[in-house]
């Protein structure tokens, strides 16, 4: 007897609930050597921008206790090359595809959405708003309620009602529930929680910040308690809004924790660096843990930590 692992994010349906995390699967090809991409929920692509970008200077990473910092700076080929090469290949593999987009201005997000509107076969768009807004002193969109609203509103209007929008939020805010409400109000169908935390490592040899970009994003198991808290808070405030959870998931038990807190699906990021088979392994372990707890479907487990409590 196999459990029903299917899930939905807005109008998008997925046969399985484990996804790659944006920026942690490159274009998908590299992981295909390790497991068949169509077996997981979907490949979430690295955040793509309008033009090709070289990204930040090296060093771009530092290992930290149970985590790592990265400062990639959104290196990528630009939307046109991406749509010409990467998306068709993924669809050929019968993988489901969630395209992550990033911009420097409100207008850049809309124009990316315009290009995606016409592309057949994409399941959803993840809007990474943890980017510096060049029009407003580099203030990160996700940390500025007005800018966050403007980006999602622009993408929604451009896309029309078709493709589900998943707004990806930063945990580096005073009140994540407030930002979540604002982007849902602006038209997001689902939320991706959480992006990395801003961190820094000082190199004790050079005695200056280790990363070329000075600060970087903290990810991995170290941040899982922050992810669970954010998911729990947002699910409590808006139980009907689906959440794609992420942050330190490396095993089935980690994924289950996020799901019980309120996630409808789970992305695996940093764990894939330690083990490229992590997404499929997490998915298998999750299925076993759900079955062992008597769940007949993944859906019954979503947000269960809230339900038990109110009994």
């Amino acid at each position: 007897m196999s459990i029903d692992l299917s899930t939905t994010l807005g109008s998008a349906w997925f046969p399985a609930p484990v996804f790659t995390a944006s920026g942690c699967a490159s274009s998908g090809k590299e992981l295909a050597q390790f497991f068949p991409l169509q077996e997981i929920g979907a490949v979430v692509t690295k955040s793509i921008m309008t033009k090709a970008r070289h990204g930040r200077p090296t060093p771009r990473m530092a290992e930290t206790p149970s985590g790592m910092l990265n400062s990639i700076g959104l290196q990528g080929p630009g939307i046109d090359a991406f749509l010409a090469n990467d998306v068709p290949w993924l669809l050929e593999q019968k993988a489901r595809v969630i395209v992550s987009i990033a911009g420097e201005t409100v207008e850049e997000y809309s124009s990316l959405a315009r290009k995606l509107r016409a592309v057949p076969g994409i399941s959803a768009i993840e809007v990474n708003i943890s980017c510096p807004n060049v029009e407003n002193r580099g203030l990160v969109f996700a940390c500025d309620p007005d800018a966050a609203h403007a980006v999602i509103d622009g993408v929604r209007r451009t896309l029309g009602g078709e493709l589900p929008i998943i707004a990806k939020l930063s945990p580096d805010v005073t009140n994540i529930v407030e930002i979540a409400k604002i982007v849902v109000d602006a038209g997001a169908d689902a939320l991706a929680l959480i992006n990395t935390l801003l961190g820094m490592v000082i190199n004790l040899d050079t005695m200056r910040p280790h990363l070329g970009g000075k600060t970087g994003g903290l990810s991995g198991p170290a941040i899982r308690p922050v992810a669970v808290r954010a998911i729990y808070q947002v699910h409590a405030a808006m139980p009907k809004v689906p959440i794609l959870g992420m942050g330190g998931v490396a095993t089935g038990r980690d994924a289950l924790e996020l799901i019980l807190a309120g996630a409808s699906g789970v992305s695996v990021g940093t764990a894939s660096f330690g083990n490229p088979e992590a997404p499929i392994k997490v998915q298998r372990e999750l299925a076993e843990l759900l079955t062992a707890r008597g769940f007949n479907s993944l859906r019954e487990a979503i947000g269960f930590a809230h339900r038990v409590e109110s009994q």
Partner: protein
């Protein structure tokens, strides 16, 4: 591109031997028949620290030599310098330990189709993959000269068996404690001037690779160097290990040293731009 790392496998390999050699550890792992897919220049990514380790990333090590005979069907040797917590953990594992590895990874050294004069230059543990390479080159009829360098004698890795495959071997140490006092770049200039070299294969610190690239610039000598950048994933999915590399048309982009390397054409690597913000070419 579907062939990215197409021989790579995740596996649990038994550590069959762990010996100190100078300041390094020679570690031999039983990996079975897949060893036949390993090529000189490939590397292995090793999970360190055990199950509940705070170290979440693998460590990369060059595959030094392989053997497909003997008690274990197939073994690979790696030469590890106990550097930080991860490599020290690895060097401290007792024989019989089960080690979680992914191999073979990355682009190997290119092997010439006809006999050439090859110069192999190794810095520190960088010599490790050169001995396996030397055997192959020798089999193809190449002349193989080798120059090894390090700061001090304990950091020269030059096993007796390995020496059989090379025509000449010269050793340089900065403190003069073994071989000639000096750096590996000192003799290269002469060899190049004497037109004694067709291809240089190098592996060692980035500074050494950069210096060799400067020497071979504007010559016909091919310089295949194995670079060493910090890697988070080793399999091409994180974009942390990048280097500025030009294509044939001179357009510079950030290439992943794990998957487009570690062996790269020294003439194309933009050494002066390493660690810099790359100018945008529209």
């Amino acid at each position: 591109m579907a062939g990215i790392n197409r021989h790579a496998k995740t596996m649990v390999a038994t550590l069959v031997s762990n010996k100190r050699v100078g300041q390094y550890h020679q570690l031999i792992l039983d990996v079975g028949g897949v060893v036949n897919d390993f090529r000189p220049g490939n590397f292995v990514a090793v999970a360190v620290g055990g199950d509940r380790s705070s170290m979440v990333l693998r460590r990369a090590f060059a595959i030094s030599r392989i053997s497909d005979r003997g008690a274990y069907g197939g073994t690979m040797e790696i030469i590890v310098a106990p550097h930080g917590s991860g490599s020290r953990w690895f060097c401290a594992q007792p024989e019989g330990s089960e080690i979680d590895v992914i191999a073979p990874l990355g682009q190997p050294f290119g092997i010439p189709t006809h006999p050439v004069n090859a110069l192999l230059v190794g810095g520190g543990y960088g010599s490790a993959p050169l001995f396996g390479l030397a055997e192959i080159l020798k089999d193809r009829g190449c002349t193989v000269d080798m120059i090894l360098g390090a700061s001090t004698a304990g950091k020269i890795y030059a096993p007796l068996e390995g020496k059989r495959a090379v025509n000449t071997l010269r050793i340089f140490t900065e403190d003069g404690s073994m071989g000639t006092a000096g750096r590996v770049t000192d003799p290269i200039t002469e060899l190049l001037a004497a037109n004694r070299v067709d291809v240089i294969y190098s592996c060692g610190p980035m500074g050494m690779l950069k210096a060799i690239s400067a020497l071979t610039a504007n010559t016909d000598v091919v310089h295949q160097c194995a670079v060493e950048e910090s890697m988070a994933c080793g399999v091409g999915i994180c974009m942390t290990c990048v280097l500025p590399v030009a294509d044939e048309a001179g357009v510079v982009t950030m290439k992943r040293s794990c998957i487009d390397g570690p062996v790269m054409d020294g003439a194309l690597v933009q050494w002066d731009l390493v660690g810099q913000v790359l100018p945008v070419n529209e």
